[in-house]
Symmetry: C2
Subunit: 386 residues, 2 copies
């Protein structure tokens, strides 16, 4: 397989962009990434998007966005895997370059959530679950997460505010990220004082849905501009796995098996072991997802992931820094773009361009894009080129 280099990255701020359309957002990110790559011309575009056919009445984003970016004549397609759509698009971009199919691929994740609000957005989000057997009963993603959290707290005797450290870490990290939706730390009592949404899930257990777009130009090493940029970041591992879509089909709902499998495969491909991973961008759509992802990857024993939220392990200077630029919780959760934001942020970290968010000495990063209750998990390892 050909080595796949991150040649350029781009992103829009995450937030409620009432004045920008889906295509505006995507164009901003794509242009920024192409510019960052020194003007490489992509031969293929892979779009990660979760809800646009419902929220923006717009499918067929491959042709639309390639056209908008002035790339008519290339090939383009949309990848959809609910919240893991961004990771899925990144994986196809990676494969396109790794296989020799193209020299330069463009990956863009985009989501325009604010075209719908309230019940209409809830209905759109419910399409990502098992429509015939779960969504139809009212089991939205949030309700599903509440069930997982309830079971987890019961089984592991977690105190009421036991998961609060995940939000606190994410918000503290987002302070230094100019593209984050919430650039503010929260007080120690903010979590506990926030209203419950679906008990035991409280407001700060839930990442905010938002608008945003992120893009990456991936390329073979020999087509990179000779501008002496250092260090180069390579995608060293890429893997995806699915679990059952419906929770009721699982023997053990607290085991994120797809996260486990995709992590193991991506690390093995990259030649890394867990104790050599420098940072981990997980999919903290809900704080319980963060705990379960840490356990599935093996950073914590079963039932102990929640303790990492407060024992310093996941802070910037801890054993395994997470949500280093705010994660989904504080950078914001722009649906199918989230997985590409992770790639952009990991690249910034490894290139030493993360500013106040910089994890010192980070030479590799594990990023994980998740759809549904880890029904889909796509993991990538990015590495500084020696």
């Amino acid at each position: 397989m050909t080595a796949v280099i991150v040649a350029g990255i781009g992103q829009t701020p995450v937030g409620e962009h009432w004045e920008l359309s889906l295509r505006d957002l995507a164009l901003d990110a794509m242009q920024a990434a192409i510019s960052d790559s020194g003007g490489l011309r992509p031969q293929a575009l892979f779009v990660g998007n979760m809800l646009a056919p419902n929220t923006s009445n717009q499918a067929h984003l491959g042709a639309l966005l390639a056209d908008v970016a002035g790339l008519t004549g290339i090939e383009a397609v949309t990848l959809e895997a609910a919240g893991a759509s961004g990771g899925a698009a990144l994986r196809q971009g990676y494969l396109a370059v790794a296989s020799g199919m193209v020299d330069v691929a463009l990956v863009v994740g985009v989501e325009k959530m604010t075209d719908r609000v309230g019940g209409e957005l809830d209905a759109a989000l419910a399409t990502t679950g098992d429509s015939d057997f779960e969504s139809v009963q009212g089991l939205t993603p949030t309700a599903q997460a509440a069930m997982l959290m309830q079971r987890y707290m019961h089984q592991n005797a977690v105190p009421e505010d036991g998961l609060g450290g995940f939000a606190a870490t994410a918000h503290a990290n987002a302070e230094g990220n100019p593209n984050a939706m919430f650039r503010n730390s929260i007080r120690p009592d903010t979590y506990a004082k926030a209203p419950p949404v679906t008990e035991p899930l409280r407001q700060f257990d839930i990442a905010p849905f938002a608008d945003g777009a992120a893009a990456m130009v991936l390329a073979r090493r020999d087509v990179l501009p000779q501008d002496g940029r250092q260090p180069l970041v390579r995608i060293a591992g890429s893997a995806a796995s699915i679990d059952t879509l419906a929770l009721h089909d699982r023997p053990d709902i607290l085991s994120f098996a797809a996260c486990h499998t995709s992590t193991q495969r991506a690390l093995a491909q990259a030649g890394l072991t867990l104790d050599t991973v420098n940072l981990f961008e997980y999919h903290d759509a809900f704080s319980i997802y963060a705990a379960l992802a840490l356990e599935a990857a093996g950073f914590a024993e079963r039932g102990h992931g929640w303790k990492m939220a407060t024992d310093g392990s996941i802070q910037r200077t801890g054993r395994i820094p997470t949500a280093t630029m705010g994660g989904l919780k504080a950078r914001g959760f722009p649906g199918g773009a989230a997985g590409v934001y992770q790639g952009v942020e990991a690249s910034l970290q490894l290139q030493g361009r993360a500013g106040p968010c910089q994890v010192q000495g980070a030479a590799n990063a594990l990023i994980q894009s998740v759809g549904g209750p880890a029904a889909t998990s796509v993991s990538h390892v990015l590495k500084v080129e020696a």
Copy 2:
């Protein structure tokens, strides 16, 4: 690149399956394909679907359908490119095996149209066009095709029933296909007598939307069961290209540039020239698409494609047989499944299993999956292994 063999194929009849859900349809086709492959176990699933998030309130089909098929733990994702979704899924399945990523890939195209009817279905279909600038003005795919046909007939002085031969050929061929929606020839005057839908587009210029699923198991040669099956069919060429999504952005609306590009690339990869192609499954969602696809590929001069509908060229025994098992017009048009049906039908032809539809001596086939007014075109060449 590794040689990619069509190891198994499966399909459901195309039609109005009021009693079957999206997952039922997909499961039937997947099981049939896996069974036809001698029980190979896929390591990746690529789903082609166009409208399910709108028509069935169901996104995240990768995880759902892999689970339904008993393939938990593999990787799975949905590819969407409007009417070309099936072709896009086939292309990713091809790449997965060709690149060495997996030994066995499963591709399934599925569409459940009859979950919506009337205006709701029209609204869902309109998401495949440029929502902000065309669909919002009422320019549905059918209206768009009527505009193309009007311009084409005017510019080339086509008589009123000049395109009628495309439907006649498709219906005649579908008679022998047990999975076709309309297994009946039409009388010479049927086309002219049918009511106009959007002038000059008449009823028989439009392929019927329908439910259906088709699946293909693709594999490396060395994992095929040693059961002596002959001949083997290989995917010898695969290419995709996009054009602008909106017609108003094109310098020449009667040039299907994406079809031209994807055809040229796929033929070149397969080492074929146009005059050595044995059959052509085009995307006859509208009869004008058939004429323009024949011209874009180079089978006819600009402005002359319509003449092939009646001069015998595209019949089973003609120069370039098309819609050999009914095409979209008579086999039926199950949205994102259509491109996979083309692959299944081409495989049947090359394996000599096409029954009354058999094109004698066919050793290769060009198939072309199209989204929108050829905003996306995905072309594949299948070949009998020497």
